[in-house]
Symmetry: C2
């Protein structure tokens, strides 16, 4: 870990610089594939599945039998864990249900907001070395609670045309029944434009590699909404003398094992803690199966020692980490001052992995500084709020003159006349 | 108006086709300007203000004296109207304040969401023929209620370097004090990257021409969030025999006068109403100062007659209009079935202009079909929701095994170990 002691505020941005993701090269390639999918639909999707995933698919849709069979292949332990985590995620996202509130802003003028589910949503679950079945829960459960009428899921097949059983089981446990064996740009294109059996959706959710990210970004310009911009995963730990160095190291490693570009930051007011954490990092790193990946991420990790709490908080808010662990004695107070973060973990017994899997909060979170303006995925992500207004005869009498004056001043005649014609009709009565 | 009688469902998409906005040509130009602004800051911003707005600015910031003077220039009538509209908008957006709800998902595992204002937001108010001071209220009031700590506003200067007094007065009434005389791509670039006196913001709001739209889209890829994608304004009116044809025509014209590319749609179950509305359109059109603009918009407007209510609702939900007026006897029932729309106006005495100015609802709404996945601007647009979790020793004992099983199955060792190291420590006690 690179170590900084009391860096000046002007240096913070440089110290915490994230890797620049240059997508310009990718963009052309990805755009070309998307155009073919838009023009040719399923034919193009199949062609690219053969090219990139090395499999000539029979049916793109996962069959009911495959889902049933997968459920039997998953260990009872894991089935139970997925169900328990699902319960917590369900409870937490159900709590987020917005109420419909109604208000008479002026006598006779009633306004309200009504949350309505986005009708069709598409969830993308990456394949690769580890099957991210936990993301199925994180995206599928709020989609179900929101009441989206069509929820589809795309995930890449292996070379035999199979999907990981845990992903299928998690989908089944979540109540998602429309699954497709599609990965990468093909999956994003199919969901954005529709392709044969794959319906077009209104919003696409989920993580992915840089090709998937570029494809999501491109389709979001004109065709379909997306959950949020993406970037490498991050954790920042704020720790004081009350923190347990072994725990802190274990949390930093949890982040580091995600990928060599993972961002790992330790901020403390206790210089000795940095040494202790570094010792623990060396010790614990050796025990990890993904130790090479984690070691590479640690190479560009940083620790920052301040002599005061205010700077610790200031730096974290400037950085806007995806995950923030506060292992400090007065964590409730510090937490109250955090304004930029995706998800926050409080105290010594709240590791990030709790939120990654099972506490109930969502693990699809804003990275790359987007926590300054974006929330993580939550129930709202699957809803839109439609406003309604109902104006009585009394209401338009009360409000009409205000509207007329403003419309006239904006030189919008017809806007003014839409009110005056109504007021005249009322006068005649 | 082009008229369709009972069109087949397969034809709906074609009938309601929106103009394709081809931004490819613009994009290159806009991108080049943005790059210069990012590299040179204020120098480039001033250069383009001279080039596009024809004014060599002294100070970019609007001075306190200019704001005070503007307030004196605005008629008392208009001042009062702006204040009354502001009160309604304030009440409606204050009602939207989310509560913090907390939940123990598992004994010892407590989770909550905390709404936190986006710190720095930028509002863009177009200039041009009519000063859109109403948009100052629609964006500024929720930003204030959310508690954004820095709210800046950019609007183009006229040839004398002045800003419209009504815009300045609306800003003053809203409590916005940082205003800049910048329009177009220069304004968006300055807010996205920061430029001299103009601070970088985290989210940009507001309407604009196609250059502004392209600039917002480009900066949103990497640098700053934006409110929503944009497109030409739209209204759909659903009307039955109980509708007043003169009112309906006045509402269609309100939309048509916005611009020649405005989308105007009438859906009814009463064929005679279409004739009556068309007669009224001809009559009322003659009285408008912007009649040429409105006439061009009406050229590509459509009316659709169905013999049943179900198809009327189906077509509207497929179209997803920005504004929807329901002038039908059973409007509460019909409104309950609307799932895709920006803002809905109920009954004969609720013209769109009420929501454009003063009912309290927001007029910054999703166009171009984005109402399928986006809400209009509302209090949420200025907030992000940070999740928090606090796990006690009991909590990690309860939840730990679930996390460990899932992390192991996803082959994320360090995630598993971050839990097991804590469980071991607890056992030793």
């Amino acid at each position: 870990m690179k170590r900084y002691i009391n860096p000046e505020k002007e240096e913070w941005t440089r110290i915490l610089e994230r890797p620049v993701i240059n997508m310009n090269e990718l963009t052309g390639k990805v755009q070309a594939i998307l155009r073919e999918i838009q023009a040719e639909g399923e034919t193009a999707v199949r062609r690219y599945t053969q090219l990139f995933d090395g499999i000539c698919l029979g049916k793109i849709a996962v069959s009911q039998e495959e889902i049933e069979e997968a459920a039997r292949q998953v260990d009872a332990d894991l089935r139970e864990a997925i169900e328990k985590a699902g319960q917590n995620i369900r409870k937490f996202h159900e709590m987020q249900k917005p109420e419909v509130r109604q208000l008479e802003t002026t006598p006779g003028v009633t306004c309200w907001q009504k949350p309505v589910p986005i009708e069709k949503v598409g969830l993308y679950i990456p394949g690769g070395s580890a099957p991210l079945f936990s993301t199925v829960l994180m995206l599928g459960i709020p989609a179900k609670i929101a009441g989206c009428s069509e929820i589809i899921l795309c995930t890449p097949p292996d070379k035999k045309g199979k999907v990981d059983p845990a992903i299928l089981f998690a989908a089944k446990a979540t109540g998602i029944t429309k699954l497709f064996k599609l990965g990468g740009v093909q999956a994003i294109g199919a969901m954005a434009y529709g392709a044969g059996v794959v319906p077009k959706v209104e919003k696409i959710f989920g993580p992915g590699n840089q090709y998937v990210m570029a494809a999501k970004q491109l389709v979001s310009i004109r065709d379909v909404a997306i959950d949020m911009p993406a970037g490498p995963s991050e954790v920042a730990v704020m720790a004081d003398g009350s923190a347990n160095p072994a725990f802190v190291a274990s949390d930093l490693l949890s982040q580091a094992e995600h990928g060599p570009d993972s961002q790992v930051v330790l901020v403390t007011d206790t210089a000795e803690l940095v040494d202790q954490v570094e010792n623990e990092l060396s010790r614990q790193l050796e025990l990890l199966s993904r130790k090479n990946i984690a070691a590479r991420a640690l190479e560009h990790s940083v620790s920052i020692v301040f002599d005061n709490e205010q700077d610790m908080i200031g730096l974290i808010n400037a950085y806007a980490p995806e995950h923030l662990i506060i292992a400090m004695k007065n964590y409730p107070e510090v937490a109250g001052k955090i304004v930029n973060a995706g998800s926050v973990f409080l105290g010594n017994y709240t590791p990030e992995s709790a939120g990654d899997y099972a506490s109930g909060t969502n693990h699809t979170l804003p990275t790359n500084g987007w926590a300054r303006s974006f929330s993580g995925v939550n129930l709202d992500s699957f809803l839109k709020k439609i406003t309604f207004q109902e104006i009585s005869e009394e209401g338009i009498r009360n409000l009409g003159p205000v509207i007329r004056t403003m419309a006239a001043a904006e030189q919008l005649d017809a806007h003014e006349k839409a009110v005056s014609i109504r007021l005249k009709t009322l006068k005649k009565r």
